[in-house]
């Protein structure tokens, strides 16, 4: 599904990614861990097409096409979804209207007719239940006045609404208490199937107790320096990142 080869990227002339290699197949969950400043969020931004992030070398193939050539909206229409680390507040736009517009723009790009009001409302209700989000929140302006936990849940709700092929969760666990974390993880688990894949970016192992990854990668100084299975995450939890840093140096 996703094939990243020797990807290098910079922001404002500062090299952040130094040759990333990663293969993600349908049905897989990959966790990307690493200390602060290792490039985790930059990878998410480069994959989703945020302006200002410039890939300087390497390639990213997504279902066979060159992902880096696509606009942010085209990537979303092709099924890539980013759950933001810092969800943005949009005063004046309700979540309902936001999701209706997004779904219909995605459908339009595929030559499909807009959803009927009935279909849309049913989906909204079902998916809100999936992440235990009060459907009343969808009538409010996007993320405005939401608590940190509500914002993160709203991200997973949006992911459920849009049913992406590749979901990228950027530190979705940060700022969540344990109950909210379980709800969010539970929502993601319900969305998992053999045709989609997830990249879970996190600083802590805690989330991975609930969203169990197939692979764990450690990102350090813009490179994946170690890959393994979920046991690697446990080891990081116990021992911290220092031993990884020492390994890289030696």
């Amino acid at each position: 599904m996703l094939s990243i080869k020797n990807l290098k990227a910079k922001i404002e002339n500062k090299e952040i990614l130094n040759g990333i290699n990663l293969e993600v197949k349908p049905g897989e969950v990959h966790a990307i861990m690493g200390p602060n400043g290792s490039g985790k969020s930059t990878l998410a931004s480069v994959l989703t097409g945020k302006e200002g992030y410039e890939a300087t070398a390497g390639e990213v193939l997504y279902n066979g096409q060159n992902l880096l050539e696509l606009s942010a909206e085209d990537r979303a229409r092709e099924g890539i979804f980013l759950a933001f680390q810092y969800p943005v507040e949009i005063p004046g736009v309700t979540t309902t209207n936001f999701m209706k517009t997004a779904l219909n723009e995605i459908r339009k790009s595929k030559g499909q007719d807009p959803m009927t009001a009935g279909e849309f409302l049913k989906r909204l209700k079902d998916k809100a239940a999936l992440v235990e989000l009060d459907p009343e929140l969808a009538k409010r302006y996007v993320n405005v006045g939401f608590s940190g936990g509500e914002k993160k849940r709203n991200e997973i709700f949006q992911m459920a609404m849009l049913e992406p092929k590749l979901g990228i969760l950027d530190e979705t666990d940060s700022g969540l208490d344990i109950d909210a974390l379980k709800i969010v993880a539970n929502g993601v688990n319900k969305l998992r199937n053999k045709d989609n894949a997830f990249i879970v970016i996190t600083h802590y192992q805690r989330l991975l107790d609930y969203i169990v990854p197939d692979f764990v990668h450690v990102l350090y100084k813009g490179k994946i320096v170690k890959s393994g299975t979920k046991e690697l995450a446990l080891q990081l939890e116990d021992e911290g990142y220092d031993w990884i840093k020492e390994e890289v140096v030696s």
Partner: protein, 423 residues
Amino acid sequence: MDLKSKLISEYKELEKTLTPGIARDEAIAAFESVGFPAKKNEEWRFTNIAPITNGSFTVRMDSAISRKEIEKYKEYNFDANVIVIHNGHYNGELSKIHNTDSKIIIGNLFDAKNIKSAAVKNHYGKSALAAADGFTALNASFSEAGVFVLVKKNARLEKPLIILNITDSNDTMSNTRNLIILENNAYADVSEVYYSENKNVSNCVTEIFLSENSELHHNKIQNDGIESFHVGTTSVHQEKSSRLYSNVISWGGAFIRNTLNSLIDGEGIDCYFRGFYLAKENQFIDNHTLADHAKPASHSNELYRGIIDANGSTVFNGKIMVRKDAQKTNAYQTNNNILLSDDASANAKPQLEIFADDVKCSHGATTGQINEDEIFYLRARGIGESEARKMLLSAYAREVIDEISFGQMRELVSARLEEKLSS
């Protein structure tokens, strides 16, 4: 001959034919003395009126408009009382007054029975003072058409009133004058809607008097063409526990200057000023407001938002005055501007003058671009970039437009907004 002299000599020629009963001679004398506002006048410092004063405008104009032409205006067909003013003439034949309540008067202010009534005598010219401003003085000299609304004690105007102002004459200056009086516990919803084509000046004055516990929803919607000039003053006097909801939507015309004042002259008053303006190529839009707190324990709240594109330019000057006796005042003001082009300019000037010590007042002004993080958030969900921009601008404007309580009017204004953001 310059415009000032031309207008003074027109007054001398027309004097005998103008409706008597109001202080016209005093008004033209005031105009002769103060003239058009000069650049050094603080209230007009950022407002270049040379395009008006360099023109040659006459107050003489004819009116001819058919029912078929008027029916093209969507507002004319709303479920409302509609008064048509065409080229500065009150058109009683095309106006539609549904009101049958004897406690409510709606009609031409300059009809003999109205202009001579005690209500008009006691209020006309008492809020918008001719001596204070050249344009107001001109209006008081020449005005021959306008709407008189009197809602007596405890009465409620059931259907909204629309004053549909249509101007299509060339090189003219119309001087319409409205007077709205709400007695104790009265209610009304009045919209002034403007459509001007061709090169002309609309110099409009509306005086509003709100007695105890009355409530007025007042909309001013400016859809003028690209050659038209509009100078308007809305001057309000609010008494105890009255409520004013003012919405000013400006997106037409070459030049707009709106002056909106409310004298908050009692306790427990609510005064809401809301405005949205959209200035595009060669447009100038200026809003000057004053919330004048003269008595304690009242509340004013102002939100004006603008979008400025191409070489459009705008002025927002919002003043909150809290006089010595106006303790426990709550007064808030916000002005936001979004610039869509490098040539666009927005001039924001909030002013607070506070002479009481126990008050809550705040103001904030921002000028910037559309938030790129918001754009990216929408794009990351599959919404195309231009659609995302339109959505955000629309949401920004609708926080003002959604405050219009007259449903059909709000929907029309919202639909126009979408058209304007798409073009």
